[in-house]
């Protein structure tokens, strides 16, 4: 059985119709969060840093934080929200009484998580515009990176959510996985100036590093061959994880 796009969109629309009732409240934090980071780190800490990789500290942070926003948007959706739909709302049991198949459920949920990543990322982008941190037109290239980053973190999160037995384990996901990624993926300082050669190779495994590098290159309008590797990582890792997620969804929903 393969994905039926209309059925996957019906799954997407279920989430969208719930989001529609609460978006006014949901979307506010998406605007506040970047403002807080930019003011505290960019303007506060940044006052003590004359330059970071040839730009002001706040300009160094800006593109990376767009990717962090996308990561957070997708992650929240595929962790807590999916777990609630799976265990408490029994939404997938309901869907499987209709022509919807497990593959459609997966496709619809991933698409929705990417949508949320785009909402988060776009809000951040708008705030950066207000701060005058958007070099045009090159920074527009960051926009296609947002859904790609969303896709990767949606795929990682959904595999985790399908494999864990209880909701408490999400705190591990956040404190032992997402937070370290946030802190050590070129967001706040360039890894290559702080790590020795062998560790730099290890760091290449970090999923957030790749969208951050792409976003920063977009803002600067600089192309380099390593960006191809970043793009390949984003797409390749997403595909592998989705393949795994596909099996996990079937196991979980049909037994």
């Amino acid at each position: 059985m393969s994905v039926s796009i209309p059925h996957a969109l019906a799954v997407w629309r279920r989430n969208a119709s719930m989001y529609r009732r609460t978006w006014k409240w949901n979307i506010l934090p998406n605007f506040f969060e970047p403002v807080l980071y930019l003011v505290s780190l960019g303007i506060g800490v940044g006052a003590y840093i004359t330059q970071m990789e040839g730009t002001s500290y706040i300009a160094f942070l800006a593109p990376a934080l767009v990717c962090v926003a996308a990561m957070n948007g997708a992650s929240f959706e595929v962790t807590y929200n999916i777990f609630v739909r799976l265990t408490f709302e029994k939404a997938y049991d309901a869907m499987l009484t209709t022509p919807i198949e497990p593959d459609d459920v997966l496709a619809g949920e991933i698409l929705w998580a990417v949508t949320r990543a785009c909402i988060y990322g776009a809000c951040f982008y708008v705030v950066l515009t207000l701060f005058g941190l958007i070099p045009l037109p090159s920074s527009l290239l960051v926009l296609p990176i947002i859904p790609l980053a969303g896709l990767l973190f949606a795929a990682i999160g959904i595999v985790f959510s399908l494999k864990i037995p209880n909701i408490e384990l999400f705190s591990f996901y956040y404190t032992l996985f997402l937070t370290p990624l946030f802190l050590f993926s070129d967001v706040f300082f360039p890894l290559k100036e702080r790590l020795s050669e062998p560790w730099l190779w290890v760091a290449e495994a970090l999923p957030l590093l790749h969208p951050v590098r792409l976003a920063r290159a977009a803002f600067r309008g600089e192309a380099s061959p390593i960006l191809l590797w970043d793009l390949a990582y984003l797409l390749g890792a997403s595909m592998l994880l989705l393949f795994w997620a596909r099996r996990a969804v079937r196991q979980r929903l049909t037994n």
């Binding site: 209309p6 799954v11 719930m18 309901a94 009484t97 209709t98 022509p99």
Partner: protein, 308 residues
Amino acid sequence: MIIVEVSSVSKRFGNRLAVDRLSLEIPAGTCFGLLGPNGAGKTTALRMIYGVTRPSSGEIRVFGIDIARDPRAVRARLGVTLQQNVLIEALSPEENLRVFGRYHLLREPELSRRISELIDFLELGSHAKLPVRHLSGGFQRRLAIALSLINRPELLILDEPTTGLDPAVRLALWSRVRDLRAAGTTVLLTTHYMDEAQRLCERVAIISEGRVIDEGAPGDLIVTHLAPETAEFDCAPEEESALFSGLSLPLRRLRVGRRVMIYLDDATSLIDHIRHRDQGDRRALVVRPTNLEDVFLALTGTRLEGQE
């Protein structure tokens, strides 16, 4: 025409055999009941019929289609009300129906037309715009049934449709099921309420530990296994032989603790006999029609003692 055809289907979960060589045939337009206690394998059987649980062995055809091959085509033509309500609590009944209609790829204006039909049919109008979490259990159950009807199913599967509902709501739901039957819908339901099965179903299969113990029309099962009338009273086991001595009737009886149930075609002479023995201190006697509960007890729980 046979709507559901289950041929020798088994389902194993690890070491546990949940369904054991189940075979069923449900003709079009009938109401068929799967009866059994909790844990008998009813829900697993249903899940296999609508194609979300794969049988370990055996074959299932619904509308003549092999469910393992084309579950989408089968599920487009049936509706399922699950045992646990799967409503979106933050949304209103109308919005729930809309979301569910989209799962079936219904489009406007058909979708809105169907929603208002169902809101009328299940009398949800007064609460159609309130969030589901504010609705009573009865309303929520009616909405759950409405959801499973959104695609005008030819086959309606109801898993324990009235468990936990008050009597008035049960009666109302039964009458809706009869309306659907009259309109030609085939109904497959599971229940552990024997009265529900007896009122609604033309045929029932009694299931225990994953196996069909017997199958037939409720009336036929009663006559085959027991008899149309039941006399019920308290009687200590040691009293029994004295009480029944001199009776020439064939007695089928069932004992649960001190309670004795006796099944016969006509209870009159038995009552006379007991009243005669009981001179003075008359015991409380109940005569009632035999029901599926008795058949179920006879077939599964308590041993049926026959005295021919």
